[in-house]
């Protein structure tokens, strides 16, 4: 097949747009950096290495801040979190071979969660490609299934435009990760060509406004609904549609359930908030989605952790599905009305099409009854080990309401979902679709770099924290004021919970007979460490850790018997959630 036609080139857009201190374009690598500057990139995360050295050399003269991470996976997660919190694509860099493969987990994570990430990977010189050269891997081949698109840069003249295109594609429409693989001869090669402004290719044209006829059908359906529910997904946050969602729900009095990525999309202290649904969602959220007759799903993809078994998911509901990605509509749950478009735009279209408010006082009352029937509560007697829920609530109370929460993956993540009150979009940063243990700390680094003035709290489990705790070195080096709360139950707790429920309590490889003293581990890295065993130490320690100007780690020795409830078993019926182990 023929070579890629030269990308269109917008010279005007870059004239006079040079960043202070930038040097003229002389090589492919300087063009790459100029493209990043032109796209407004202020920070990137990465790890040096042989094949990416020309790019780092060009970065030396740039005003772009580079945060050196301990591991490339950390760089990808930090860039991912930066993208979630700031709304602009996060950038990560890695060298060829092991550098690129270490990024793979982070890119897969970003792909599952539709997070905007640009990865620039070094590659062996073009002449060596395919020869199994030192530190060579087929990066575009490896990352094709886990990126929105990827590029193999072919020449020094066009490489800047390719990076710009990767940037534009990543951040527009349904966001997602993109990769540009940069052979060393391309970045080292001579060019004087200024990259144009970032632009998407002509074949890429996401539809932002939903079809009018569909909007009309959806509005008529909502108007006559008796038990309507809005299911808000992560797309509400990505599309900056939280205000539109709040206005719409309040205007028509429709209860709002969120998916996990949508925590913060709708204020959880709002009367209409039913909070998170799904496997570990609240009882009332799961009752609401199971019994509704019309579901307006906005920016969600009906993941199996949300739906449980599709046969029993909202079985009486007509589904009105708004999403910017047509492929998500009727993929897992058949939509009765497809509203292809941007979340905010579709909500505004619907609002102007609605002629009346649905008459649903009984349903609203029913939702409040469920809230009273299935409260999220726990007992916390003094004489037992600390309940993890208590720790989450203690940190929530001690921090401002716009504090950012990041988490790893496991039981601690679910407690952080359930017992923290999310009121604002872009304050919840977690690994949803891929479920990447170890996501929390590098994500906290990315979040803090994006929002240095906000409090950042990272919840980790002992198992999850051990997967990326080396990134503490970065938090210390960059003096990032983040607080890590390790909910330490000396186990991979979620696995152990499943073993209790489904494997007759056979704890194969899930109990950790020994875990490090995380307070001492923190101190070895140069961070502040704390250990907490008793209830009466919690408040003071939280205060001290938050007051410490720099990274701190609190090792909370929590009740090892604590499990996460409510719970819908995998593939189960959301309305049949278990409130305790004996209901499974």
């Amino acid at each position: 097949m023929s070579e890629q036609p030269p990308a269109t080139f917008d010279r005007e857009a870059t004239d006079g747009a040079e960043t202070a201190g930038s040097t003229p374009v002389t090589t492919g690598a300087t063009s790459v950096i100029r493209a990043l500057e032109g796209a407004g990139v202020e920070t990137c995360f990465g790890v040096q290495g042989g094949a990416i050295m020309p790019v780092y050399d060009a970065l030396y003269d740039s005003s772009i801040r580079h945060v050196t991470m301990a591991h490339e996976q950390g760089a990808a997660h930090a860039a991912d979190a930066y993208g979630i919190v700031s709304g602009d694509p996060g950038v990560c860099l890695a060298t060829s071979g092991p550098g690129a493969t270490n990024l793979v987990t982070g890119l897969a994570d970003a792909s599952m969660d539709s997070d905007p990430v640009i990865a620039l990977t070094g590659q062996v010189p073009t002449a060596f490609v395919g020869n199994d050269a030192f530190q060579e891997t087929d990066t575009t081949g490896l990352t094709a299934p886990i990126t929105k698109t990827n590029y193999f840069a072919t020449d020094s003249d066009s490489v800047g435009d390719t990076v710009g295109e990767a940037f534009a594609v990543s951040g527009t429409g349904r966001p997602g990760p993109t990769v540009v693989d940069l052979p060393k001869d391309v970045t080292n090669g001579q060019t004087e060509r200024q990259p144009g402004a970032p632009r998407t290719p002509s074949t890429y044209d996401p539809q932002t406004e939903a079809d009018e006829a569909a909007v009309e059908r959806a509005a008529r359906t909502l108007e006559r609904a008796e038990k309507p529910v809005i299911l808000a997904g992560g797309g509400v946050i990505k599309g900056d549609a939280s205000d539109a969602l709040r206005d719409f729900a309040t205007e028509y009095g429709i209860p709002v359930v969120t998916t996990m990525p949508a925590l913060g999309a709708f204020p959880e202290d709002h009367e209409l908030a039913m909070e998170m649904a799904g496997m570990h969602g609240t009882g009332y959220a799961n009752m609401a989605i199971t019994h509704c007759d019309v579901m307006l799903a906005v920016g969600c993809r009906f993941d199996d952790r949300l739906t449980g078994g599709v046969e029993t998911f909202a079985p009486d509901a007509e589904i009105l599905h708004a999403d910017i990605d047509p492929a998500e509509v009727s993929k897992n749950i058949e939509a009765d009305v497809a509203l292809i478009g941007d979340a905010g735009t579709v909500l505004e279209q619907l609002d102007s099409e609605m002629d009346r408010t649905p008459d649903i006082p009984e349903w609203q009352e029913q939702c409040q009854t469920w809230k009273a029937e299935y409260p999220m509560d726990y007992a916390a007697p003094e004489d037992r080990p600390i309940r993890p829920e208590f720790v989450v609530e203690a940190l929530d109370e001690a921090t401002p309401e716009d504090a950012i929460v990041t988490t790893g993956v496991g039981q601690h993540q679910m407690w952080a979902c359930q017992y923290w009150t999310y009121r604002h979009p872009r304050t919840w940063v977690s690994s949803h679709g891929l479920g990447t243990m170890g996501y929390g700390l590098p994500a906290a680094i990315g979040a803090k770099v994006a929002e240095p003035d906000k409090q950042v709290v990272c919840f980790e489990g002992d198992g999850s924290f051990l997967m990326t705790c080396q990134e503490l070195a970065v938090a210390v080096r960059e003096n990032l004021d983040i607080t890590v709360a390790v909910l330490n139950n000396a186990a991979v707790g979620m696995v152990r919970q499943w073993q209790d429920a489904f494997f007759e309590g056979r704890h194969s490889a899930s109990q950790y007979p020994w875990v490090p003293a995380f307070d001492k581990l923190a101190e070895a890295f140069g961070a502040q460490g704390f250990a907490v065993h008793e209830y009466d130490e919690v408040a003071d320690t939280v205060e001290a850790a938050l007051a410490y100007d720099g990274p701190s780690v609190i090792d909370f020795h929590i009740d090892p018997g604590a499990n996460v409830y409510p719970m819908v078993p995998s593939g189960g019926d959301n309305g049949q959630f278990a409130l305790s182990e004996d209901q499974l």
Partner: protein, 224 residues
């Protein structure tokens, strides 16, 4: 925060699952709401999908990788350039229930180098090529069968005869059956390629692209 009290630890309050009301409806495994009056499961359908794609490196790998990782039930996939050297046409024959067919289309459209995707109707022109290599013991009979299927002998030696047959899938299957009597040593099939019949463009954008290419071709010739 929760009050410290005599509640049982690890147990949330509320009616047990069996004490809760249940909705009456049901969906099938595709997530489609089932009308209990007419329980009908979708049946797989065999169809041809045509995708016009940019001719850039890796586009075929992207398309075939997509098909395999999403577990679409694919019968054949062919690819070749079009009138415009910058584009190729990928033809997929798939067998899927209705939602699966729509998913194949939508997922293909998500690939950036893909310009347009269209499912072809039943009357699309479909052709496949096969080369059959049979044992050469009975050349006269081989010749007769070849003529019956409008085939062409590509190579005839003392031990083997190779024949080319072109046609729709049924014809190819029948021809292969007919050649079995001589003993088929090897065969190679291309898979179906297809194009819309009559004055219909195969995918949405092709007319516009054709006009544009035609215009620029005329401009170039006039300048000469």
């Amino acid at each position: 925060m929760s009050e410290q009290g005599p509640q049982q630890v690890n147990r949330l309050q509320g009616p047990a699952p069996e004490d809760r009301p249940r909705p009456s409806g049901r969906r099938n495994s595709q997530g489609i709401r089932i009308d209990p009056e007419v329980e009908a499961e979708p049946v797989p359908r065999r169809t041809v999908i045509s995708a016009l794609v940019e001719n850039e490196p890796g586009v075929l790998a992207k398309a075939s990788g997509l098909v395999s990782r999403r577990q679409f039930n694919i019968e054949s996939l062919t690819v070749g350039t079009t009138t415009n050297p910058e584009t190729s046409r990928i033809t997929l024959v798939i067998e899927e229930p209705e939602p699966g067919i729509r998913q194949v289309e939508k997922q293909l459209e998500k690939l950036l180098p893909v310009i347009s995707v269209q499912e072809l109707g039943e009357n699309a022109i479909q052709r496949e090529l096969v080369i059959v290599k049979v044992h050469g013991d009975e050349p006269d009979k081989v010749q007769a069968v070849t003529e019956m299927y409008d085939g062409t002998v590509l190579d005839a030696g003392p031990k083997t005869i190779s024949i080319e047959i072109t046609g729709d899938e049924n014809k190819i299957d029948d021809a292969i059956d007919a050649f079995q009597q001589f003993g088929i040593r090897e065969l190679a099939r291309t898979g179906q390629t297809a194009i819309a019949r009559g004055d219909v463009w195969t995918t949405d954008v092709e007319e516009e692209r054709y006009e544009r290419m035609h215009e620029s071709w005329q401009t170039t010739t006039n300048n000469d």
